[in-house]
Amino acid sequence: MSGRGRGRGRGASINLEALGLGRGEILPTVAQPPPLYPPLLFKPVPLVTTDDYNYILNLKQELRESFHKSPYFIKEPNKVKDIVRYSDKYQLGLNDSSTNWMPDWTRFPSELKEKVKRKRAVHFVKPNIKKAKVAQVEDVSKLLEKLEDTDAKSVNMEEVEGHDGDEEDKKKEKEEGEEEEEEEVDDEDVEEETDYNLDYFDNGEEYGDDDEDDDEGPTY
């Protein structure tokens, strides 16, 4: 308790008069935060309006307009408000302002250059417009028989198919090769899209659609 003795009268040691407060004056109590918009005691003086200032003002407004029109003003691509529409991809004029500015690359680092996408050769997938064959009653019974056969001789079938299967594999390899080339072309697209939505699960619905797979070689 040694501190007590010295601490006594600490409050009194601050002479209020030295701080400029008279004996009778009471310090105002602050019970609430200051108002958000305190009343202005002094009104600001009006702005100077000379011809020069008006001219500069017009210049400023014009300059801002021309900056907005210039290719250096980068607009934010429109945010998708509700749903992703198919047509969004084809909306023109989102960033067309940026296209008419060709930087002189000797003055900019190479990493800022957007890699130009090679235009991908479009392979039109031919729609299958063959009419579905009307199954005849005999065919159905034959097919059933055939299926029974395949079930029974599944082991044998594989051996028989061996030769044809090789050919098919080669075909597939070729196709895959082509696909890989395509993939290289639009690497970035693939990067952005994950394969979450792709469905690898085969629910068996396509089983037996032999008629549509005519091109893929004979079926047994």
Binding site: L19, K60, Y72, F73, E76
Partner: protein, 544 residues
């Protein structure tokens, strides 16, 4: 960089270059410098957008880049360059008053493009001028490009525009890796040659030139030691890039402010004397020095403009007046040549800055407070009792105002204790004004105010977006109808904007105008404070 400052930079860039660029710029300001990968990661934009934003920022002289030791490229923002955007209209206006309309358009084009070759700037300016001539319907002959070229050369001579810093090329010779440091300031002001007026660099260059540069590139790879020199040779072949030299404009503004101050303090003739002296010293002395080179009486007398020529004894009196009154803007340093006079640029700027601060004190706290503020300014360290006495104010009122100023950081307090225990009874309390600190505080508030005004203006415009869009559409229709000459329909369309809407539109445009005008005028206060601070913070080297 304070938070307020960063916020203002963000607002400015957003207004002039869009939100994406603003976010990239404000990230760069906060992080000092960083690489592309980090920027992409932190700003949450596509890499494509970030790249575009960086291209814009580099082209507009806001961002520079350099190569680190590991070979990656670092981008650094220059926040002061963003604040200069506020002054763009002033630069254009200044060019107009100095060199006429052609110079005005040239400077405007250069400001718009950031960096550009003179050739295309000249072509664009000529087209614009001719277009306005045609639309005004005057019969004046078309303006030729050579005339504008002469104007451009004039601007370079006046140092209002300058060459951009060279960009050091990478090994492939096709891309830049870093902006080179300027070692010879004179090189930036080399007069443009014929090659500088070639249009569109790189595109129309003859094939032989390309071959040459290819050969050079091979050479480059062979001898890396003199890579830089070779690069310079390579660069000087094509038309160079040019930009506006803001420092020269600031220099001019500073002189203008000093002249205006003299005109207000003494009279118009004295300001003419000052103008002549400043013009004479402009070419001779270092623009950053505190005083100008000494000028002799005869020199000043001969250089006075012919229509405002003064009698010798009149001029002598004016010079005396300038050196006696007026805060020592001018001092007499010698007797040779009829008297040697020197302009005290720093003293002048300081006096102007002080008077600005005094005005602010007057408007914020009233004339009684200003009286005390002046007492503190002249007497440096003053006790509270003395302040009351010297400002001749009753103690109670003085106390209130003094503490109010103290609370708002306009004045500072120094404690001087007689004993080591700092007991209040045995301590002197001195009030004083630290000019640098007050200037900085006011500067910060100015930044805040401008940023607030920009936000307010944008809010005002976005709230009434529908109405403004409607007005735009109606105006477009009216313009097209005017072209067709359909007067009846025009009236009908005009009535689509109802009177109440018209009133509202007028209100909006008035509000926006007032806000913008105050931005311009606030920027002048900012300019004076910045100039004063730049003199105090970076005292220029004393010439030996």
């Amino acid at each position: 960089m304070s938070r307020v400052n960063t916020e203002l930079c963000y607002q400015i860039v957003k207004e002039y270059y869009g939100e994406i660029v603003a976010n990239v710029a404000s990230f760069l300001i906060r992080s000092k410098s960083s690489s592309l990968g980090v920027i992409v990661q932190r700003t949450c934009y596509d890499s494509k957008q970030v790249k575009q934003a960086l291209l814009t920022l580099i082209k507009q002289n806001i961002v520079t880049f350099s190569q680190t030791k590991s070979g990656s490229i670092e981008y650094t923002a220059k926040p002061e360059a963003i604040l200069w955007i506020l002054r763009f209209p002033n630069y254009i206006h200044c060019a107009k008053t100095l060199f006429g309309d052609a110079a005005e358009l040239l400077v405007e084009e250069l400001l718009l493009q950031g960096q550009t070759d003179l050739g295309s700037a000249v072509v664009k300016t000529t087209n614009k001028l001719n277009e306005s001539l045609r639309s005004s319907g005057s019969n004046l002959p078309e303006i030729s490009q050579s005339l504008i070229r002469d104007k451009a050369v004039l601007l370079v001579k006046a140092r209002l525009i300058r060459r951009c810093e060279d960009v050091i090329l990478g090994k492939s010779g096709q891309f830049g890796v870093a902006v080179s440091e300027v070692t010879e300031p004179e090189q930036l002001f080399l007069l443009p040659t014929a090659i500088d007026f070639e249009t569109s660099p790189g595109l129309k260059r003859p094939a032989s030139d390309n071959m040459e540069s290819k050969a050079k590139r091979i050479k480059l790879e062979a001898g890396e030691a003199n890579e830089q020199e070779e690069n310079k040779v390579h660069k000087s072949q094509g038309p160079g890039y040019w930009r506006v030299n803001v420092y020269q404009f600031h220099h001019h503004f500073r002189d203008q402010v000093i002249i205006a101050a003299v005109a207000k303090n003494i009279d118009q003739r004295a300001s003419e004397v000052m103008r002549t002296m400043l013009r004479l010293s402009e070419t001779r002395s270092n623009p950053l020095s505190l005083e100008s080179e000494p000028l002799s009486f005869t020199e000043i007398s001969n250089a006075m403009p012919k229509d405002k020529i003064l009698q010798k004894n009149m001029l002598d009196q004016y010079l005396k007046c300038l050196s006696d009154n007026c805060y020592n803007f001018v001092t007499k340093v010698g007797e040779s040549g009829g008297g040697l006079y020197q302009i005290n640029i720093f003293k002048a700027i300081k006096a102007i800055c002080v008077s600005h601060i005094e005005t602010i004190v007057l408007e914020r706290f009233g004339s009684k407070a200003l009286r005390m503020f002046r007492v503190l300014l002249t007497d440096k360290q003053v006790e509270q009792k003395q302040v009351e006495e010297r400002a001749m104010l009753p103690p109670k009122e003085a106390k209130e105002l003094l503490y109010k100023m103290f609370a708002e950081n306009f004045i500072t307090l120094t404690e001087l204790s007689k004993t080591p225990d700092h007991a209040p009874t045995r301590t002197f309390y001195f009030f004083n004004v630290s000019l640098i600190q007050v200037s900085r505080m006011i500067l910060e508030r100015c930044y805040q105010a401008i940023s607030n005004m920009m936000v307010r203006r944008q809010k005002c415009l976005s709230e009434n977006k529908r109405l403004l869009d409607k007005q735009d559409r109606v105006e477009a229709i009216i313009a097209s109808l005017d072209a067709e000459g359909a007067i009846e329909q025009k009236e009908e369309v005009e009535q689509m904007v109802t009177p109440s809407e018209k009133a509202q539109l007028k209100k909006i445009s008035d509000a926006a105008k007032t806000l913008e005008l105050s931005e311009i005028q606030l920027d002048q206060t900012i300019f004076i404070l910045e100039t004063y601070l730049s003199y105090t913070l970076h005292p220029p080297e004393v010439k030996k």
